[in-house]
């Protein structure tokens, strides 16, 4: 297990970034790239404290007693962090040095609206609706064209992929995790309407939908679908997969097991089906913002600020956690409630994108995040 001092790693990485990649810049745009970059978006605000619980943090069990995992029940990563027990395959990738975790990370967005937060994360702006196209589309503009353009494995093209570059979408029949979440939301919507509430309860019972678990199957299918396209020599170099249902205001324990088991299966499915191309692949998993450090009154958490992002793939310099861990002590929380952001998601994306395609990080940053970053793009993320 990697025991690197995280603060030291960050400052070191920042200092060396520009120099290390300078010689490669000139060749980048002309050459066909074999690299693949996949963005799995977690819509709904995934809880970083659930994905990689800081079981070694003295305040963790205190602040969310109802939701906290015992150190024995998670997959141990280091003295502070574990991985959720559903992330079995992800943990294996981590051991194999193919998964990099970035905790206490957030986009520049600091309010708590899903729509606005996703807009900032996908457009790469610093405020909602400040940009009209998505950072992945602008990234596509820096890459040589392939026969199949950047592809969204989703019914429609998500904001991150929209813009002037040609992109496409390919819809799987089911979106992982969407069903459970929507059914729960509808139940809440009907809670004060006696007629609809009772009809809805009967409907779910009749169809045996309460507690249905189809997320793994759908996740495996979509992972395989994406891999099939991306491993082709003339296939897309950029892709996006949408996952929904991360907005766990209630029943977080049970829902997280399903959601993370689905994510785990999707990552494994990508790895297994990409075959040798996995070694050339970077998968980014990120969400619009995190959730409250404390549990709410309904067995869940509410909209928060910092969360966790991860990079997976054979190209990733993984097996480590990047975190300037702020802790969960009352004073350490953002606005007295949320995990405080100490890493910039934009800096992670800029670094991962630049290194994956051997592009100039300055140019990538200016293109993907035209409003500027607060810190330098991260570096040393990807094998070159």
């Amino acid at each position: 297990m990697n025991k690197l001092d995280r603060r030291k790693f960050l400052s070191l990485a920042a200092a060396t970034s520009t120099l290390a990649f300078a010689p490669r810049i000139a060749f980048a745009a002309a050459a066909e790239t074999d690299r693949r970059f996949i963005f799995i978006i977690q819509r709904g605000a995934a809880d970083g404290l659930e994905i990689a619980p800081p079981v070694g943090d003295p305040d963790y069990a205190r602040i969310r007693p109802a939701l906290a995992h015992d150190a024995a029940d998670v997959i141990k990563l280091d003295a502070t962090f574990g991985l959720h027990a559903s992330l079995v395959e992800t943990a294996q990738m981590y051991q194999a040095g193919e998964v990099l975790l970035a905790h206490a990370i957030a986009s520049p967005y600091r309010d708590r609206s899903h729509f606005d937060g996703q807009n900032v994360m996908e457009c790469g702006g610093t405020a909602p609706y400040s940009l009209r196209d998505g950072w992945m589309n602008r990234l596509a503009g820096l890459l040589p064209k392939t026969r199949t353009p950047p592809t969204a494995f989703a019914p429609t093209v998500p904001m991150a992929l929209r813009g002037s570059q040609r992109v496409t979408s390919y819809a799987p029949s089911k979106l992982p995790g969407a069903k459970d979440d929507l059914l729960g939301r509808v139940a809440l919507l009907y809670q004060y309407d006696p007629q609809l509430q009772s009809l809805w309860a009967s409907a779910l019972e009749a169809r045996g939908l309460a507690g249905e678990d189809a997320s793994d199957k759908a996740s495996i299918t979509i992972g395989k679908l994406a891999a099939t396209f991306m491993k082709k020599a003339d296939g897309p170099r950029l892709a996006m997969i949408e996952t929904n249902g991360w907005d766990t205001h209630n029943q977080q324990k049970a829902r997280s097991e399903r959601l993370l088991s689905g994510l785990d299966a999707m990552l494994a499915s990508l790895r297994d089906n990409l075959g040798p191309v996995w070694a050339q692949t970077t998968v980014l998993v990120a969400t619009e913002f995190g959730r409250t450090a404390a549990a709410n009154g309904t067995g869940g958490t509410d909209h928060g600020t910092a969360s966790l992002a991860l990079l997976a793939g054979g190209a990733v310099k993984g097996g480590r956690m990047i975190a300037d861990w702020p802790g969960l002590a009352p004073k350490a929380l953002y606005e007295n409630r949320d995990l405080k952001p100490t890493n910039g998601l934009d800096a992670l994306i800029a670094g991962a994108a630049a290194e994956s395609f051997a592009l100039d990080p300055v140019r990538v940053t200016a293109t993907l995040f035209p409003d500027g970053l607060k810190t330098k793009p991260m570096s040393g993320l990807i094998r070159v």
């Binding site: 819509r43 709904g44 605000a45 609206s113 899903h114 729509f115 996703q118 019914p155 429609t156 819809a171 979106l175 969407a178 979440d181 929507l182 059914l183 939301r185 509808v186 809440l188 919507l189 009907y190 809670q191 004060y192 309407d193 007629q195 609809l196 009809l199 809805w200 009967s202 409907a203 779910l204 009749a206 169809r207 939908l209 929904n244 249902g245 991360w246 907005d247 205001h249």
Partner: protein
């Protein structure tokens, strides 16, 4: 802000659109639709009429053409459904269009029956739409003369036992197998005019059936096809007609031939039971499943005093406080919900969206109620567990595969105005994706009702 604009748009109309201006004078907005109503809107006028369809179908009557005929019927039906739905979504006179739907359902024919499949659209265009802002009597006469109704209720098979044809057949072949079919006569009395258990007897039904004998269709390719009548048009076959006189509901009709049944229909159209029947159905449609008797009485009185002038009845509805209750009074049928969802999300074209399939999946295939009684107009029929689940799934599908760019947080107050509840507003604001937010808006309690 009052509830009236939202009620005018959603209860009287077919649902607000994102760009609809909230009517400042809701009643005036509704009254004006009576005046500017267009009986032949472009989308509907583009569909083939009965004569054209009868000619086309007449050309594929041979047994070996069966497949071609089935295809033609189905395609005609689909085109008519898409046109009807698209017109309902696009129309600027949604109250008038709601009345078209009301009357088409009152005089229901059902597409699953044989050749009717092809004629449901032309029936509505020719027998219903021209009379929606006219007199009930004229609509009744147009409906019962229309070949789609005559065929649907088996009138072509009805032969007077004392008619020329039946008598000759008995004399020459010794067979007495030709006789009455009471279907059309009974449904006219029970469903179209007087209403069930309103005082008529079996003897009245039989007498009316005798009066109706000879009402038939000019079928292209048939032995007695008349070139001076449009293909598929109404014809009267004297040789099938039971000779007069007829006594129905205590009144004796001395007219001969086609005019006998027409005279009966004219009387039925203005009968007090008919006034009550129509008044009750209209009140149920606009004031709730259990409509207040006060409103039924006023509507019935208006029907009688105006001799079935329909706009007079509509003005009673517009002026009736019973129709403007602040709480929703109706659970939307699948058709109403679909139209309001399509209007609410600003659709103007359908591209790959099939309204035909969508409505079928939701349990209300257009013009196919399966019975001459039409679709039930009460919540008990539609507010069912599985139906609700289907609506939720359909709303999600609609948004995923037929996307738009609207923000549900801004759209909800536009569509629902004052009826938007805090619970729904917060559910939409808390949605994790735009699609989820749109889905929640479309399945919210206030959007499922009107």
């Amino acid at each position: 802000m009052s509830f009236e604009p939202a009620i005018a748009l959603n209860r009287f109309g077919l649902g607000a659109r994102p760009d609809d201006k909230s009517p400042t004078d809701a009643q005036a907005w509704l009254r004006r639709q009576i005046d500017i109503y267009e009986p032949r809107p472009t989308l509907i006028a583009e569909q083939p009429d009965t004569a054209t369809l009868a000619t086309k179908l007449g050309a594929v009557r041979a047994p070996e053409d069966r497949k071609a005929e089935a295809t033609l019927r189905r395609e005609t039906y689909r085109n008519a459904v898409e046109a009807r739905v698209l017109h309902a979504v696009a129309t600027d006179t949604p109250f008038a269009e709601r009345l078209v739907q009301f009357w088409a359902n009152h005089f229901a024919i059902s597409a699953e029956k044989g050749v009717v499949t092809a004629f449901v659209g032309s029936f509505e265009a020719e027998a219903i739409r021209p009379h929606v802002m006219g007199r009930f009597e004229d609509m009744l006469l147009a409906v019962e003369h229309h070949p789609a109704m005559i065929y649907f209720l088996d009138q072509t098979r009805s032969v007077g036992p004392g008619s020329e044809s039946a008598v000759r057949r008995a004399q020459t072949k010794g067979k007495r197998d030709l006789g009455l079919n009471e279907n059309l006569a009974r449904e006219i009395l029970e469903l179209h005019t007087l209403g069930v258990r309103s005082g008529y007897t079996q003897a009245d039904v039989t007498e009316f059936a005798r009066a109706l004998t000879g009402w038939s269709i000019n079928v292209p390719g048939a032995g007695d096809y008349k070139t001076d009548v449009p293909p598929g048009g109404f014809i009267f076959r004297q040789n099938l007609h039971e000779p007069w006189p007829r006594t129905i509901m205590g009144r004796t009709y001395m007219q001969s031939g086609e005019m006998a049944a027409t005279a009966v229909l004219r009387d039925l159209a203005v009968a007090p039971q008919t006034a009550n029947h129509i008044a009750t159905k209209l009140a149920r449609h606009f004031a709730g499943d259990e409509p207040p008797q006060s409103l039924i009485d006023r509507l019935a009185a208006a029907f009688k005093s105006s001799k079935g002038d329909l706009p007079t009845l509509y003005r009673v509805l517009i002026d009736a406080p019973e129709c403007w209750a602040a709480r929703p009074v109706k659970f939307k049928t699948p058709y109403e919900w679909t139209i309001s969802a399509l209007r609410g999300t600003g659709r103007t074209t359908f591209q790959k969206f099939s309204a035909t399939n969508f409505l079928r999946e939701l349990g209300q295939p257009l013009w196919e109620p399966g019975s001459p009684a039409g679709w039930d107009d009460t919540a008990a029929r539609w507010a069912a567990p599985d139906a609700l689940l289907r609506r939720v799934e359909a709303a999600g599908r609609l948004e995923r595969y037929f996307p738009n760019k609207l923000d549900p947080r801004e759209l909800a107050p536009k569509l629902l105005a004052r009826s938007l509840s805090d619970g729904t507003r917060m559910a939409i604001e808390g949605a994790d994706t735009r699609i989820t937010g749109m889905t929640l808006l479309l399945v919210s309690p206030e959007f499922q009702r009107r």
